[in-house]
Symmetry: C2
Subunit: 334 residues, 2 copies
Amino acid sequence: MSSQNSARLLAESLRRATGDSNPALISSVIPSLLRGIGHTAAALRMAHSVETAGSQNVFGDAQLNVDVLAERFFRDELAACPAVVAASSEEDPVEVSTQSSGVVKAEEAAEAETYVVAFDPLDGSSIIGPNWTVGSILGVWEGRSALRQHPRKQLAAVLGVYGPRTTAVIAVRVPGREDAAVCVEVGVADAAGSCEIIRSDVRFAAEPKTRYFAPANLRAASEEPRYMGLVTQYIARRYTLRYSGGLVPDVVHALVKGHGVYLSPVTARSKAKLRRAFELLPVALVVECAGGQAIDPVDGRRILETPLENLDETAGLICGATEDVELARAALVG
Amino acid sequence: MSSQNSARLLAESLRRATGDSNPALISSVIPSLLRGIGHTAAALRMAHSVETAGSQNVFGDAQLNVDVLAERFFRDELAACPAVVAASSEEDPVEVSTQSSGVVKAEEAAEAETYVVAFDPLDGSSIIGPNWTVGSILGVWEGRSALRQHPRKQLAAVLGVYGPRTTAVIAVRVPGREDAAVCVEVGVADAAGSCEIIRSDVRFAAEPKTRYFAPANLRAASEEPRYMGLVTQYIARRYTLRYSGGLVPDVVHALVKGHGVYLSPVTARSKAKLRRAFELLPVALVVECAGGQAIDPVDGRRILETPLENLDETAGLICGATEDVELARAALVG
């Protein structure tokens, strides 16, 4: 399938599900993110000298850190995208204008559609060395800032997955209608971002054949009997363990399998460590668009309920299939 | 670096460590396996329609199953390799002659060096769908059969790792000298099998910064209190959990990090499920060449001590850093 054809099919599929309310989001912003994912995949594929010195990312003299490269690929794509007026990232957590010479931004042109993007260019640095799947996390917010907005202003989120293949999970929802949403999995063929649809409706199954759990920071179970009790319950009920330690692969595993629960609890000794802007809010949007839930393990509130006050905020996470989020809520929250 | 140069450097490195006793193994057999890994990586990268129907590998009309493709790539490479006289695989567990028209095999030519290869072309089928790292496992035996030989006849093993990059861990030992061995990690650049050395001496660290555990078949802990007790001990001692469910990524994680223990216990309800010929014996050789241990969780014997009587044999596994294999042995064996 040609690259133009596949991009058109994806745009049609997203438009069918969400209507024509946000044409630039579908036809320009999401394709630019897929190109960033394609470029990052190509850079990772060549980055054999990653982490040769142990736990730190150390590159050879002539090589750049892949985190830095990924950051640059996404920044360059966003700068060339007229509707995107600002971006912030985990590597540079300030909202910076994406003005670039030659691109007339929607802000200047006074067009209706403007977006800001908050992203984690490369999540999972601890597992790059052993060559495990890692990912990118990107959230797209309507307006001129992600700060002090209701999270329903986050209209789209994309998870890039760098494994044996390059894939992406794209979630889009209709502004003002929390019930109208779509979640699609695509294969990204190359750095030009051309892609094919793998699953047009990513969705948690009502009656899964196998139940999965992914317990982050399992060490915390030694000091938190409720976490230990929940894990023991999963073992007794013969859930299957899958835990890579990368937020993107762990969440995408659940989405593709149609079942799974991801737990990152917060205890006195284990602080909240997931960034709300760059990790939690985009992941929560994807999970909700696939029919699941994403809640805060401290107060049990929806992740997508609390506005961002600053870009450094962190929290824990319980997300996945609804039934299992409720089981974990009953065990951990309160 | 040119492909010829990098192949020459790898061969020199392996020869330096193991001497000149097996020239065809170093200059011909191992390069043919690396080409098979390169071809498999390229096929996986394009296989976006994997598992679209759920838990089974279902490919589009025009596509072949990647397991079948990988099997064919390795068979073709081995057929073209004069020193390899037979091969068996997890997909076709019979030792079949690798005769092919036009290639004069060592057997016919009455040369000194002959090998058989036992391999699992693509291990980890359950995690191909979610795009997690998977692998190939290959063991190279001196002689004309892997059956009814002492496992010290297995002179080399290669683990191919298909993730964001393509890498391989290569272990070779000197015949008759169990103390002389080398374990190298390489990056595989392309389908031609050209590669660069990432780590020239893969080795478990004496004093790791972080300790890892990978508990396979954790469900079995619900019926086996000793397994549950060991897992609880890891949690209490603040080990880090990393468990992908793929034998290759799980073992390679430990090798690259310099620490880790992989557990696949056998209980009344959970039968032994790892194949000795295609999984356990090659993995055990790699782990031992990196200074670790690999033992049977039932009787505590070295995996590399018991000859293969047939190609269908299965067993459990405890492998990894010596100190942690001993801890697990004390908890589980007997």
